[in-house]
Symmetry: C2
Subunit: 269 residues, 2 copies
């Protein structure tokens, strides 16, 4: 976090113009200033960003990487500022997170019908995330797969579901009708936060390419059917419950209202 966004802007300008003079012109500063700032930036980072001659300016590998990251940082910062100003204007927003496979549409429909003035965001969680979006404020309500840390959260049970073993279709066990957990001894389980697995799609790609196996909830298995994957029931694996959760200190009536409507919708279904 010890990064100077001004220097990053300067860097981006040079990276795009590939020319110190024109970049300086675009930034409305003098060219020598830019030279010095870029050099200082390189020293802070501890690596060169450009290879310069008097006739050309090219990016190093680190420079190319930073150029991409700069774009990402810019969008995150800009949307952040937008959200803050939105909040300052008093606009209300409710973010509903859900674990993969759980569906929230009915509750949202009921909620928007009652509170048309509230903007609703739906946040699809990563498969390895549990209660973190509620903890760090990214969401106010969550449809979560158990287990997760319920301390400080108000939760409501919303049914349970079994888990299936997910194997590549070429796996020796793929022909079986069902498994017991012991059958998976020695397999690489892709369950913890290994690699940089960002999404379920990536996880399934890894399984399909033979880099491991996994246990996935039934609803997820139903949604992600692929010819190169097989799902097998595991007879000695108890079903996992799902829960609707919200931080206890969310005193805003909106969250309470959402929980009420959601439980009512569930009772009807």
């Amino acid at each position: 976090m010890d990064l100077d966004l001004r220097k990053l802007r300067y860097f981006s300008a040079v990276a795009e113009h590939r020319h110190f003079g024109r970049a300086a012109q675009a930034l409305f500063i003098a060219q020598p200033v830019l030279s010095r700032q870029i050099r200082a930036f390189e020293q802070e980072l501890g690596c060169a960003l450009f290879v310069r001659s008097t006739r050309s300016v090219e990016l190093t590998p680190a420079g190319r990487q930073l150029h991409e990251e700069a774009r990402r940082i810019a969008t995150v910062v800009d949307t952040a500022l937008g959200r803050v100003r939105e909040a300052a204007r008093g606009e209300q927003r409710l973010v509903v997170a859900f674990s993969p496979g759980l569906h929230v549409s009915e509750a949202i429909r009921a909620f928007t019908a009652r509170h048309p003035e509230v903007a609703i965001d739906v946040l699809p969680m990563r498969w390895w995330e549990r209660d973190t979006p509620l903890r760090d404020g990214r969401a106010q309500v969550g449809y979560l797969r158990c287990p997760f840390d319920e301390a400080g959260l108000r939760t409501v049970p919303i049914g349970e579901e079994t888990k299936l073993a997910c194997l590549p279709a070429t796996h020796p066990l793929a022909g079986r009708e069902s498994l017991v957990l012991a059958d998976l001894d020695g397999e690489r389980m892709l369950d913890a936060r290994t690699h940089h697995m960002s999404s379920l799609e990536v996880k399934f790609e890894l399984i399909a390419s033979g880099q491991g196996v996994s246990l996935v909830p039934k609803s997820v298995a139903a949604s992600y059917s692929r010819p190169d994957l097989v799902y097998l029931p595991v007879t000695d694996l108890p079903p996992v419950p799902n829960r609707l959760a919200a931080p206890q200190d969310e005193a805003t009536g909106l969250v309470a209202d959402f929980l009420d409507l959601a439980t009512e919708v569930l009772r009807q279904a």
Copy 2:
């Protein structure tokens, strides 16, 4: 992007300590400095972040929002710096993007077998994205659904697939066997980048809750089956081709190797 990360750090410290003196202590600066910086920050943003009395410091709604955004910004910035240093150390990385429903596992397995020293990232694209990840450098190779702008890209055809209409199960047309495009006249099509649709899951949630309909490729429909959605063939809609693409100026042998291996894998299948 006109944001001072130093001031943001200061803000986060006060927000967490809810106390200017102790926050200043944690930041190793004097308390009056902190008071002034926060006040200046509030003026830059144009809104109050704290309600202060001599006995308590509380966050305003805008302050709460900024507190969350600050966390997100911090993680983005930190991972960005890590990636840059990684690139500076000369570590190689190949990012393979793919449109929803397209599978890349075989090609990756073949590639890692030949280049075990190269780290591979798999980037699941958003459903409305086409060639942008290749343009802005987020990926070096892409399995893309047509149409996209092929200028400056080297592309290889990888088959084609039909698209299906996706409707909520409660829709009047849901009982039909098939549709023609004219049947969907007057329906709200969730195809452009409307709303803040960040993912397919969100799109399906919107369709299920009756806010519109959409046309989705067959492989996507096969992967995301839900009881509250129906998929119908559209008889007068031609199939869309898919293509493997890479920027022409990616002269690194890695990308060329990946394309060769991928096309070979496809020929075998």
